[in-house]
């Protein structure tokens, strides 16, 4: 183990400020008098004052204290942290992509519309749906839109009793949150002993009040909902819709499609499955696809192509549309990257992505099952899909080292931690998603690291508890941070005075 993250004692940019310095030069002097009453003008603006090289050095150092997929293994479950091809960045940065305005005359943005049209067609094929709106900015945003579409659908049937959305207890937190945001009451159904939706419980949960079921398949345990045909039947028979949470799409590309499983609404995470970088939290994109029956409710505008005229256009003339869900047409810069990625992969490439990603997860599952301290809580008989959720409960029981400590200690091995304590139905959960981007050697290194940590938990527990030590900083007081939140330099100075 020889990992060491950069460790700068880097002050806040405000503390580096020296009056009079500036990192920007005006292209010209303002020449007009601006006719604004004095009381509307600003008196004081305390932004930092630095020259360009100082700014560059500061943020370069900060970047060195940050871990990305390009730094190493990032098995964060349900986040699909795969490699992001560099050429996609280059293309999105072209002036012909980055310097076009959403209100330009249509004939001057034909390329942008064509790219969106083509991307929509590709996504519709991958998911097996009729049409896709690219507008939502992120996964949770897509879920929210899906819930608005659900409401519009039932409303169009004059069915206004449906005020419940069903969510499995293993669902991503965004699912119930998005349903609630759209005004729905959330009904949670438990998982069965096999880690799948409990059909009996689902049957008991559906009623004339059910608007939809939100489901991710493979689910958050990395297991395929093999009863999906029955699940879909139960929900549809009750008059509800099926929403597919696309977070785990990387596990089934080219093998099966949400549409083939009878889902009505699907969302995608372009920043997961389609390899656009996550940028430390965003931007992403969360397009939403629907079957024919729901098409008319999609947000405006959609891109249409007139073959005769050879022209693309934005169609706002959609009287049943739910309207707008974001200021413009979606995160276009992300679309360019996702479209380039789709072309780089093609159908066979995507199929191979899923082969490799699923194999990598199964490889970890089988190897780690042989390591003492970690176990599977649900079905270990069959294969997993793109991810696997282990429980560190045996380790905790024996050594009082929790999943939390294991995760922190992993950072010292130069690897990112898995998602932990999620899904909530697995105690001491370690949710591991290796993606297709990792080599066998890297996976072996990961399993070895977990084995070493399990051994250390017995031989040198303090070492595990005091981890990480190879990162830019040691363990933080997160409790204090939330008890007395200091959310800005202004607040920081105020608290320092007190």
């Amino acid at each position: 183990m020889n990992y060491r993250q950069a460790r700068w004692v880097e002050p806040l940019i405000f503390e580096l400020s020296k009056p009079g310095r500036v990192g920007w030069a005006s292209p010209e002097k303002p020449r007009e008098r601006i006719n604004v009453p004095k009381e509307l003008l600003r008196e004081k603006l305390e932004l930092p004052e630095l020259s360009e090289p100082e700014v560059v050095r500061h943020y370069t150092r900060l970047s060195q204290m940050n871990y990305g997929v390009d730094s190493g293994f990032y098995p964060l479950g349900s986040c699909t942290m795969k490699y992001n091809p560099k050429v996609c960045e280059e293309l999105a940065a072209l002036e012909t992509a980055s310097c076009i305005h959403p209100h330009q005359a249509e004939e001057t943005v034909q390329g942008a519309l064509e790219l969106m049209y083509r991307l929509e067609r590709c996504l519709a094929e991958v998911a097996g749906v009729a049409r896709v709106s690219l507008q939502p900015s992120a996964g949770a945003h897509g879920e929210f839109v899906a819930m608005l579409l659900t409401r519009a659908y039932h409303k169009s049937k004059r069915d206004d009793k449906r005020n419940q959305v069903i969510v499995p207890d293993s669902a991503h937190g965004t699912n119930p949150a998005s349903a609630a945001m759209a005004g729905y009451e959330v009904v949670t159904v438990p998982s069965n002993a096999r880690g799948r939706v409990d059909l009996k419980a689902l049957k008991a949960a559906v009623s004339e009040r059910s608007a939809a079921l939100m489901l991710t398949n493979p689910n958050t345990l990395g297991l395929f909902e093999d009863q999906i045909i029955n699940i879909a039947g139960v929900v549809h028979d009750a008059g509800g819709l099926l929403f597919y949470d696309g977070a785990n799409l990387n596990g089934i590309l080219g093998k099966t499609r949400p549409g083939d499983m009878d889902f009505d609404i699907v969302h995608f995470n372009l920043h997961k499955t389609f390899s656009t970088p996550h940028g430390g939290g965003g931007p992403g994109a969360g397009p939403v696809g629907v079957q024919k029956e729901l098409e008319k409710f999609l947000p405006v505008p959609l891109v249409e192509y007139n073959e005769k005229r050879g022209r693309y256009s934005l169609d706002y003339d959609r009287p049943h549309s739910i309207g707008k869900i974001k200021g413009f047409y979606g995160n276009f810069g992300v679309f360019v990257k996702a479209y380039a990625y789709l072309l780089l992969m093609g159908a066979e490439g995507l199929n191979e992505v899923t082969d490799a990603a699923v194999l990598n997860a199964n490889y970890i599952m089988r190897k780690l099952l042989r390591v003492e301290g970690y176990e599977l809580k649900f079905d270990a008989s069959g294969p997993c899909k793109h991810e696997v959720v282990f429980s560190a409960e045996p380790l905790k029981r024996e050594t009082d080292i929790w999943a939390h400590f294991v995760a922190k200690r992993l950072l010292d091995f130069g690897m990112h931690a898995p998602t932990y304590y999620f899904p909530p139905i697995v105690p001491e959960a370690l949710m591991i998603e290796p993606t297709e981007s990792e080599s066998k050697e890297e996976l072996d290194r990961f399993v070895d690291a977990l084995k070493t940590i399990a051994e250390e938990a017995k031989s040198d527990p303090d070492r595990v508890r005091s981890a990480p030590t190879a990162t830019a900083i040691g363990r933080l007081d997160e409790v204090k941070a939330s008890r007395q939140p200091i959310l800005s330099w202004r607040a920081y100075r105020k608290s320092a005075k007190e």
Partner: protein
């Protein structure tokens, strides 16, 4: 041959399968019922090499005409500015670019500190103590602000000015529809564009959760009655929400200084490209009051110390508001946000500093001022239509010409290599043949003169 992005070749995969005792890859998919298996290949364009993809995508995008290659006067929610080279090069550093949400603060101090600095600079700019680390964009930030006002006050009505972008209003209505909030539009003074205070006061009552204004307004003029609107809202226990173009705050009074409780806005002009309207950056800030902070949507980065209290560090805070903990009781479902755009904004603001931002704001306003003066001298044109101070956007009306519509006028301009302003007829029929134009530091006087002579020529032709 191997795949450029998949390190495990077929041979290695075979070896791995043997090691874990699985006969074939297909066995790993045996749990997918046969009926739903895709029995054909996906119908996608054939895979291409990097070189081919580059040529193919470049060729599609070449059909666009970027505003760097033609004179354009479009704004209206996203604004073209120069993005300094170092801003782009820093946000492209792959440690930032390829990281996920900073769930492990010890390994993500860089992103956390950068976002804390972003929050700090936004807080300073808008004159409040608290800012979150980003929303999707201005429109969704407004939607979330309305929901937050309703949660804080327990009331169901949200007041907005009639003169806001209809797209933004549509997004707001979608957000408001969940809890069934009523969105009420308040009119404006036909001469000055200012909010109709009498109507506002009549609408205000014990049922109003929040009052929203934009400053500068959607149509470019300043709302000069900020103090009075704030006082009226607060008197009835409503929160006061202000929407901003952050560049304008280099010059104008911060909303916090005239009573704003919540500030939202579009952070794109702070070092992010226009990019056909996205990614953009939703600004969201509020007063330093626990009652408000606990109802904030989105991620918050806070300062803290190491457990041994020896060093300062940063981590995500108040996560119990968020979806991954609170689930259906979360303040919002937002998870992925626009973090990298926020980092760009931090770098941009740190580079410009107070003087740079002030100069830039002045230059943008000065160009608009020059343009209005110049266009107003053309017979039949009126600019702006409202008698009020303006920032960098303004209206242009051609009711007194024989031009049939702004669309027609723009078509003529486009033939002369100029993209005119945004037609406003659909949004505000009562404003007649009016367009919304924008100038920034990208425009020179000569550019504005060119617009003026093209308009003169076009109007002359029709006479």
């Amino acid at each position: 041959m191997g795949h450029p992005y998949i390190p495990n070749t077929r041979e290695i995969r075979e070896q791995m399968l043997r090691e874990i005792g699985v006969a074939s890859i297909d066995e790993l998919f045996a749990d997918i019922p046969h009926q739903i298996r895709l029995k054909r290949k996906l119908k996608l364009p054939p895979a291409m090499s990097e070189l081919e993809v580059k040529r193919h995508v470049q060729a599609i995008l070449a059909k666009n005409k970027p505003f760097t290659q033609m004179l354009s006067f479009l704004g209206g929610g996203v604004w073209p500015h120069h993005v300094p080279a170092h801003v782009r090069s820093l946000v492209q550093r792959s440690e930032f670019l390829t990281s996920y949400t900073p769930y492990q603060p010890e390994a993500s101090q860089g992103m956390l500190q950068a976002l804390f600095e972003y929050q700090s600079m936004i807080a300073e700019l808008v004159g409040l103590e608290v800012a979150n680390s980003s929303m999707y964009d201005w429109a969704t930030a407004l939607g979330e602000a309305a929901l937050m006002c309703a949660r804080v006050t327990g009331r169901q009505k949200f007041i907005v000015p009639k003169l806001i972008s209809k797209d933004r209003l549509s997004v707001l209505r979608n957000y408001a529809s969940g809890p069934g909030l009523e969105v009420v539009e308040v009119g404006y003074d036909r001469r000055t564009g200012q909010l109709d205070l009498r109507q506002l006061r009549a609408e205000l009552g014990g049922d109003v959760a929040g009052v929203y204004i934009e400053n500068p307004s959607y149509l470019g003029f300043l709302e000069t009655q900020g103090d009075e609107i704030a006082a009226a809202a607060h008197k009835t226990g409503a929160l006061f929400v202000v929407g901003v173009n952050p560049i304008s705050l280099g010059l104008f009074k911060a909303p916090g200084a005239y009573g704003a409780d919540i500030v939202v806005g579009e952070g794109q002009p702070l070092g992010n490209p226009v990019s056909f309207g996205g990614p953009s950056l939703g600004i969201f800030a509020c007063r330093d009051e626990l009652k408000l902070m606990r109802q904030l949507p989105g991620r918050l980065i806070g300062a803290t110390t190491t457990l041994d209290d020896k060093a300062r560090g940063y981590c995500m805070v108040l996560q119990t508001r968020e979806q991954h903990i609170r689930r259906e009781r979360a303040t919002s479902s937002i998870c992925t946000n626009e973090a990298l755009c926020a980092v760009a904004a931090a770098i941009y603001l740190a580079s410009l500093g107070p003087r740079g931002l002030c100069n830039l704001a002045e230059l943008c306003a000065s160009n608009a001022s020059y343009a209005m003066k110049k266009l107003n001298t053309i017979k039949g044109l009126r600019s702006p239509i409202f008698d009020a101070p303006h920032f960098n956007e303004f209206t242009l009306n051609c009711d007194d010409t024989r031009v049939l519509s702004i669309q027609k006028l723009n078509a003529g301009l486009l033939k002369r290599g100029i993209q005119g302003g945004k037609p406003l007829r659909e949004e505000f029929p009562e404003l007649g043949k009016t367009a919304l134009l924008c100038t920034t530091e990208l425009h020179s006087r000569e550019d504005i003169d060119r617009l003026a002579s093209a308009l003169k020529e076009l109007l002359g032709e029709r006479r």
